[in-house]
């Protein structure tokens, strides 16, 4: 952080900009390299962990009545008779070409994830946007009158929302919005294009994911704003007689951004985790349900494929959050 802060004070603007861009690029490259390395380690752990579970993909894909010789043939077909490190190396070397291997049932992993991954991204991204907007609105509203009635209500509601797990939210939504009132479709039915047949099928899954995360992030926003409230420049702004909402938006909020960005970045991981539960409950065709089935079937290439794609997305989001935090902190330095 210090190098960029230093370049901001550089006297020659043109040279400074170029320098800054290079520094940022280097920084991004470094972060990307670190994250990629982390992902490789994670994938190695996945391969090893599946190996440690009892049973293997050949067992899971076999039918009752197969003899030991049949099972051995199946194991050979799936390459499970080769050492773990060799299978891992094979999978990793095919990865740069976009080849994620073959599932235990003989389908290409990229085919199995081609529709579910975008579907989950749409689900998680929609939930994320709703989380960002509503937590900022609620947090700012609560912070506008600290200790007021609005603040207390938001505080209680957000704690409650975060404390309720996704499946409770899902089941409640399902009962009220679908089975009792008939307003929304109860389950997701997928069309020939691999997407949910109607957009209304997204509403409940998105809400089920967004509600708990909004609860958490509202508390983060509110807390960060409270921290900023006692900062000298905010107190000065108040003493200057600026209207409270101006102080809140112009002086408190910018300072709260780093903490808020970190909170939201954490949410992306939780959104993916929650997607496993929510997708199952609403029959949403995403990677969460693929992952759950793959673990049960000890389908290592498929599990690795899901971990790899989800890991890449989460890494990208964390990187973005890093950059936001960096940029804002840099600006204040």
């Amino acid at each position: 952080m210090t190098p960029t802060a230093a370049t901001r004070r550089a006297p020659a603007p043109a040279a400074g900009t170029a320098h800054r861009i290079t520094a940022t690029a280097l920084r991004i490259a470094g972060v990307v390299a670190r994250r990629a390395l982390l992902l490789v380690v994670l994938l190695a752990v996945v391969f090893a962990a599946v190996e440690l579970l009892p049973g293997d993909a050949a067992d899971a894909a076999s039918e009752r009545g197969e003899s030991a010789a049949d099972l051995a043939a199946r194991r050979h077909l799936l390459g499970l008779d080769r050492p773990l490190w060799e299978r891992f190396a094979d999978w990793m070397t095919a990865l740069p070409a976009g080849d994620l291997g073959t599932s235990a049932q003989g389908q290409k992993v990229t085919d199995l994830l081609a529709d579910p991954l975008p579907n989950t991204l749409v689900l998680a991204a929609s939930a994320f946007v709703i989380t960002v907007v509503s937590s900022l609105l609620l947090g700012c509203w609560a912070a506008s009158k600290p200790g007021g009635r609005g603040d207390r209500i938001v505080s209680h509601l957000s704690t409650a929302a975060f404390a309720v797990p996704e499946f409770v939210v899902s089941v409640s939504l399902l009962l009220v919005l679908s089975l009792w009132t008939g307003w929304l479709p109860a389950a997701t039915v997928t069309g020939g294009d691999g997407r949910p047949a109607t957009w209304t099928m997204l509403i409940m899954p998105v809400l089920a994911l967004a509600v708990p995360q909004t609860g958490w992030n509202t508390r983060v926003v509110r807390g960060a704003l409270a921290d900023q409230a006692s900062a000298p420049h905010v107190e000065a702004a108040h003493l200057d007689g600026l209207p409270p909402h101006v102080v809140l938006l112009r002086h408190q909020l910018p300072g709260a951004v780093p903490a808020v960005a970190t909170g939201l970045a954490t949410s992306t991981g939780l959104l993916f985790g929650g997607a496993v539960v929510v997708e199952t409950l609403f029959n949403y065709p995403g990677v969460g349900s693929v992952l759950a089935g793959a673990v049960a079937a000890r389908d290592t290439p498929l599990i690795a494929g899901v971990v790899m794609s989800a890991g890449a997305v989460i890494s990208a989001v964390l990187l973005a959050a890093d950059l936001v935090r960096h940029a804002t902190l840099g600006a204040r330095a």
């Binding site: 009892p54 049973g55 076999s62 049949d70 599932s103 003989g106 389950a187």
Partner: protein
């Protein structure tokens, strides 16, 4: 949504009666294998049936000869492709692509005649060469030896354009039964790469398939009876709960194999039919009979069978959606021995048998179970409670599925198992009870049983075969390693407009070619 809630409610008024009739299994309408049709109604042609079937995105397979872990995949394959034979009602094996079959005197050579007028969806006629190639392809898969037992690749051949000859390594009176499940016929030479778009011969052609979901349209050239539906849309559901919710909300017309919990939820809805397919799932308790097992003494096994309260099990574990069984597997077999007296609960006799056998009542016995299918773990828990009343201490151990199949199945002393094909006594005898059976779950070796079994599959005299089959069931009832307390119904939920739904257990649930919409 194609049908509004109000339409469903209106249509629902006359339905519960039809649903009840279907549940009672009235098969007098001639269709035999299907239910849900009001006698006065004439089938109406047209419409799209929206079906929900269970499956996981991770387990999708498109290969008719692959392992179909997903019910949704199997449903789609079974409507697009034809097997040689299919499950039947009056006889458990009914014709499909094979119009007829006969065996040689020694019951080793089986000759199948291909149905007149059978053509692939692209118009080319089905030849014996296609059938031979398909059976050989099936035999070469890792599960080939289990699916076509006793058949070598080289012993499948074509006699002429319309006749296929299969020679078994041993006499097997029930071989045609083995072709019901996966003898799907493809065109000779279909490559693995083309398998997903390969033309079938079935009542429906594939319009599209994506991510486990599919749309099928009627094949007007099908050689079988008239198909009434224009199209079938299959939606894959990961859980029975989500599937039942979709049905209750009117998003699908049929929830295939939705289970007892869903049936309980739907029971109060007048606009939903709850269809029961009896003898769908067996959940026996397995007692290992080998010498080092606490259940080696047949008196102990008899006592355990006398301890269970079968009515209570059916009522509580299956929510009443099932029937009491008599420790003989294959309850749906038309030749099932109904005259063997039903075993009931008799704690006094059980205690005496245990005393006589010197069974150690101070020990706690572990009963291993899984949550693979709904009700299985509950059955173990309830049984443990009932055993306690007889002074036997049973502790239920729940294992994760992978661990169970890897470590307990076929080697544990005391565990729960489950079987989805229950319309053949011989099937179970050959798969799980005869001494050399590959899946002899209880490690049971009984010379009397083995002799009866060989008589059943090796005798060409129907009378002797029938007598041997009764003897076999009696021995199984008396001293096998199984406690079979009851049979779970297969349960489908359907909107009231759906008619002529499948009635048979197990894979009979995919027989949707006769369905029509009112």
């Amino acid at each position: 949504m194609g049908v509004t809630r109000r339409q469903l409610l209106r249509a629902g008024t006359g339905v519960s009666a039809a649903g009840l009739l279907a549940a009672c299994g009235g098969g007098s309408d001639g269709s035999g294998a299907t239910a849900g049709s009001g006698g006065a109604d004439r089938p109406r042609t047209g419409g799209t049936l929206r079906v929900g079937a269970l499956g996981h995105g991770s387990a999708i397979t498109r290969d008719p000869h692959g392992t179909q872990a997903n019910e949704s995949d199997y449903l789609i394959l079974a409507l697009v492709f034809d097997t040689l034979t299919v499950p039947g009602a009056a006889k458990n094996t009914a014709p499909r692509l094979a119009a007829s079959w006969e065996s040689s005197q020694d019951l080793r050579t089986w000759t199948f005649r291909i149905a007149e007028g059978a053509v692939f969806h692209d118009g080319t006629p089905v030849t014996a060469e296609d059938v031979v190639w398909s059976l050989q392809r099936l035999r070469r898969t890792p599960s080939g030896a289990a699916r076509l037992p006793g058949i070598q690749v080289g012993n499948i051949s074509a006699r002429d354009d319309g006749t296929v000859v299969v020679v078994s390594d041993y006499a097997n009176a029930d071989f045609p039964l083995m072709t019901r499940f996966s003898s799907f016929v493809l065109k000779k030479g279909t490559s693995d790469a083309d398998i997903a778009r390969a033309p079938g011969t079935g009542p429906f052609t594939l319009d599209w398939f994506r991510g486990g979901n599919a749309r099928l349209v009627r094949n007007d050239r099908w050689y079988g009876p008239a198909v009434h539906l224009d199209a079938i849309e299959v939606t894959m559901f990961e859980t029975p709960q989500a599937m039942a919710n979709a049905l209750l909300a009117g998003q699908i017309d049929l929830a295939s194999n939705a289970g007892a919990v869903a049936a309980r939820t739907a029971r109060s809805r007048a606009d939903v039919q709850v269809l029961r397919r009896p003898d769908d799932m067996a959940m026996p308790i397995v007692m290992r009979t080998a010498a080092d097992s606490p259940f080696a003494d047949r008196r102990v096994r008899e006592a355990i069978r006398l301890v269970v309260d079968r009515e209570a099990m059916v009522k509580q574990v299956l929510s009443g959606y099932g029937t009491v069984a008599n420790d003989i597997l294959g309850t749906g077999d038309p030749r099932y021995a109904k005259d063997i007296p039903q075993r009931g609960r008799d704690l006094v006799r059980a205690r005496k048998l245990l005393r006589d056998a010197g069974f150690d009542l101070s020990r706690t016995y572990e009963l291993v179970t899984t949550e693979d299918i709904s009700g299985l773990a509950e059955s173990a828990t309830l049984f443990a409670d009932q055993a306690r009343e007889a002074g036997i201490k049973v502790e239920v151990v729940k294992q994760e599925s992978g661990a169970f199949w890897d470590r307990t199945w076929k080697s544990g002393d005391f565990y729960t198992s489950y079987w989805g094909t229950n319309d053949s006594v011989v099937f179970f005898a050959s798969k799980t009870m005869v001494s050399e059976a590959g899946q002899n779950e209880a490690a049971w070796h009984d010379t009397g049983f083995d002799a009866a079994y060989r008589e059943v599959i090796g005798s060409d005299d129907p009378k002797r075969r029938a007598a041997a089959l009764t003897a076999l069931q009696r021995i199984e009832h008396d001293r096998s390693g199984y406690l079979l307390w009851g049979m779970a119904d297969g349960i489908d939920l359907a909107a009231s407009k759906v008619r002529n739904l499948p009635k048979l257990p197990g894979y009979g649930r995919v027989q949707l070619e006769g369905v029509w919409l009112r």
